[in-house]
């Protein structure tokens, strides 16, 4: 243990007792966090990074979790030897933590001011009044507008970004020496992510605390971390200072992580993934030269293909109820006068922040919500007002892939049943055997193994589940697919694989996509044309090849500047 380290983790091993025996989640991990420095811990889901942080906090679920070996020194004291009372004194006081999900991490039935004040009251000898005043002061510090009134709000009355600010205020309320942030921005839009990152960096500097920042996305911590620890499959595979990680990564996994995030202006035909850099068993391999060529974004080549989808002056509105009889007093226009044309084989990217109407637009096109005005013309036919049965038949050709692969698959159905269900509903694909074979074929197409047909969704990782969702959408051989934030819930390394898959499937089946995302870099990679949405309208529409260079609208430039830059300091070619 070095004398300047605030936190020193030595040879930490964490194991979990599961139904299938002892699983080692953290294997012999050692690292130091010097006082006043930020250390980034990077790795994909299941790499052991969150478990490490929970071990430091003493919040591992006992008795399932065991720590057979290791030491965690905080200020010279081994936390693993502290009893519950000693740990409670440290938690929220000297070491505090921010979690990934601001939506569920706050207690829904208490005012946010009370929740911040509670942390102060239990650790500091202050009156309720003083604690409340400190809470209001902290809310001001983390940039919540009108803090003295906002302190009286309940969590559901705040946006996701504001809730995460409340979590930050709570975490820094007792001036901790160490702040652990576990994916604090992953659930937020890129624009909000940028604000929260800047806030955390500012506060860390002002309070001179140490920070342990956990993320799956190297790009996010490029600007704020001093040192970076890369974890892969329970082990630390690389440790270096932040600049060095970006310029001279050694481990193939780190290289893969750096390469897999889509970049503006440097578009490969397919994104590089971790598997381009290393083999299944973790050995480095040579990246094929063809994979790292960087292309100028190509324009969509117009061979005079027919227009597959045309949307004319589409409006979708929701009633605002008011008065004692719940009369409709006004309408909220979620989609306000949107028009565009999409040719067969083309991809339209729709980008904007939460609440801009992009998801409602996608669902209106499929008439999953009914539009109020305007026309949707699909394949030359106006489908705005066609009957229920006719629309049902048309849905064979128009499919949608949703955001959350965890909740959009029925947990009690096998993969085979999930994939065959669309065929059964539309009475397609012949008999059961033929349907099964179709499902198996498609499952292999999306990169899964035919032997996994009889498994249940919970046996798969997030990325694999999204592949199943994609396969399900393609079972009816659609021509048109809406991808609604289909990669937003995935780790960047998995995101790259799924984006590549979507492109491969597009060229194989001649699919037409509408790709909806809050991340302009992702949209820019996959789309031919990009529409920027704000307040229900498409405010700017341009070719993907030029929108990032010549953005006309201020709003588009805000979205562009919010994309994490970290790795753009370096060029792709220097990776190999």
């Amino acid at each position: 243990m070095t004398s300047t380290s605030l936190l020193s983790v030595r040879n930490l091993v964490v194991e979990f007792q599961t139904g299938e025996g002892l699983v080692r989640a953290v294997n012999n991990v050692s690292f130091d966090i010097p006082a006043g420095k930020t250390i980034g811990i990077v790795g994909e889901s299941g790499s052991g990074k969150s478990v490490t942080s929970l071990a430091v906090m003493g919040l591992l679920q006992k008795p399932a979790a065991k720590i057979p070996q290791g030491e965690i020194f905080f200020n010279g004291v081994d936390l693993l030897k502290c009893n519950d009372n000693q740990m409670r004194d440290l938690r929220g006081n000297q070491i505090s933590m921010i979690f990934q999900e601001p939506m569920t991490s706050l207690n829904p039935v208490f005012k946010v001011g009370d929740q911040i004040a509670e942390a102060i009251r239990i650790h500091k000898n202050v009156s309720n009044r003083q604690a409340w005043d400190k809470a209001v002061h902290l809310m001001n510090l983390v940039g919540i507008p009108n803090p003295s009134a906002s302190a009286h709000k309940y969590p559901h009355e705040m946006s996701g970004g504001q809730k995460q600010r409340v979590m930050i205020a709570m975490a820094i309320s007792c001036d901790p020496k160490l702040l652990i942030a576990d994916e604090p921005t992953t659930a937020l839009d890129v624009t909000i992510q940028k604000q929260v990152l800047e806030l955390m960096h500012k506060i860390q500097q002002e309070l001179k605390m140490s920070m342990m920042f956990i993320t799956h996305d190297l790009g996010v911590i490029g600007d704020i971390a001093d040192d970076v620890v890369v974890m892969y499959r329970s082990n630390i595979v690389e440790k270096n200072n932040a600049n060095a990680i970006f310029t001279e990564a050694h481990h193939p996994y780190t290289k893969g992580l750096l390469a897999c995030r889509p970049k503006l202006g440097a578009n490969p035909k397919r994104l590089l993934t971790v598997s381009d850099f290393m083999t299944e068993d973790g050995k480095e391999k040579q990246v094929p030269a063809s994979r790292i060529e960087v292309y100028e974004k190509e324009n969509f080549i117009d061979h005079g293909q027919k227009v597959l989808l045309e949307v004319k002056n589409l409006v979708t509105q929701f009633p605002i109820k008011g008065g004692i009889f719940g009369r409709t007093v006004d309408h909220f226009k979620a989609v306000n006068n949107v028009s565009f044309k999409l040719k067969k084989g083309q991809t339209l990217g729709l980008v904007g922040e939460s609440g801009c109407g992009k998801t409602t637009l996608g669902r209106s096109i499929l008439r999953l919500v009914e539009p109020s005005a305007g026309n949707i013309i699909y394949d030359g036919k106006d489908i705005t007002n066609i009957g229920h049965e006719e629309m049902r038949l048309l849905r064979k050709k128009m499919q949608i892939i949703f955001q959350d692969p965890y909740s959009s698959l029925n947990p009690r159905m096998t993969v085979a049943d999930i994939l065959m269900e669309p065929l059964v509903i539309h009475n397609e694909g012949g008999n059961k055997n033929q349907r099964y074979n179709m499902a198996r074929e498609l499952l292999e197409k999306v990169g899964l193994n035919a032997s996994q047909m009889n498994r249940y969704p919970h046996e798969f990782s997030g990325g694999q589940r999204q592949r199943i969702c994609i396969a399900r959408a393609l079972m009816l051989r659609p021509e048109f697919v809406i991808c609604d934030e289909s990669v937003s819930a995935l780790d960047v390394s998995i995101q790259a694989q799924v984006l590549n898959l979507l492109l491969d499937l597009q060229s194989e089946f001649g699919l037409t996509y509408v790709f909806i995302s809050h991340d302009l870099s992702v949209v820019n990679f996959i789309a031919d044309e990009v529409g920027v949405m704000n307040a229900g309208q498409i405010i700017e529409m341009d070719k993907a090849s030029s929108i990032y260079k010549n953005a006309k609208e201020e709003y588009t430039r805000t979205l562009l500047s919010a994309i994490p830059k970290g790795e753009t300091k370096r060029s792709l070619a220097s990776l190999v």
Binding site: M57, L59, R88, D89, L90, R91, G92, N93, S96, M97, F99, E101, T104, S105, L106, N107, P108, V109, F110, E118, A119, I122, H123, Y154, H156, M167, M170, A171, K321, G326
Partner: protein
Amino acid sequence: MIPVLLGVSLIIFVLFNLVAGDPTAVLLGKNATARQMAELRETLGLNKSAFAQYLDVVKSAFTFDFGRSWATKQEITHMIRQGAYPSLCLSIPAFFLSTVFSLIISLFVAYYRGKGIDLFIRFLCIAGMSISALAYILFFQWFLAFKLGWFEISGFEFGFPDFVPYIALPAIIWILLSLGPDVRFFRTIILDEIYQDYVRTARAKGLSELTILMRHVLRNAMIPIITYVVIQLPFLILGALLLESFFSIPGLGGMTLNALNSSDFPVIKAMAILSSVMYIIFGLISDILYTVADPRVKLK
């Protein structure tokens, strides 16, 4: 609320006209003459149009004037008023205590979740639920009241504290019967909350497990618990059928049972309407309590 009441009285009206058949035949027996029957029809108002008869049912739902019983010829309103007193003397203390005990026990087992004491109490709950209510009643009546003479075997006296010895034993049985299902239900709700993210946040603040349970978890768990408790309240007024009849408590439960036995349709109809009205009222109360417990819910 008013449309619901109108709908309920319509269903009751249709149901009773279908099930009851011709009430004059029931009342006068097999040897009734056609003239007697016609006279009775007149006095019972059965010659009125169906719509007018329905209006009578609706009227009774709002005025609580249910006419007279066929069996005892008493005013039904008076009978209900008289029966409600013993019923409430038993049900209110029994229900209150069983809910409080269940809540305390379920918080206790949630705190020691997965430990031996949790398993043991869960076992007791299942065991208690598996034994028939009749077994409790017969055993306690025989053993505690008859053999040991700690309680009155049966009967009732009006006025406090005279009724206490009479309701003590049925109340104890009531509490024992409710503990099993209530503890299991409350425990499940509390444990659902314990695994929420906000509890992890509370732990990260450095709160003790007990504070987390009593402050953060309980407040959230109260939301479903309130619904569960409030929706049982109408039953308290309607009385406990089994307990009242075994302990000869002259409550509404016993009254309803007698009415069923003697096909006393006006009384049954009155109790049906009364229970619907109670349901509607307590449903509204639970909606209002919801907004107190859960800031996310607003009355529109």
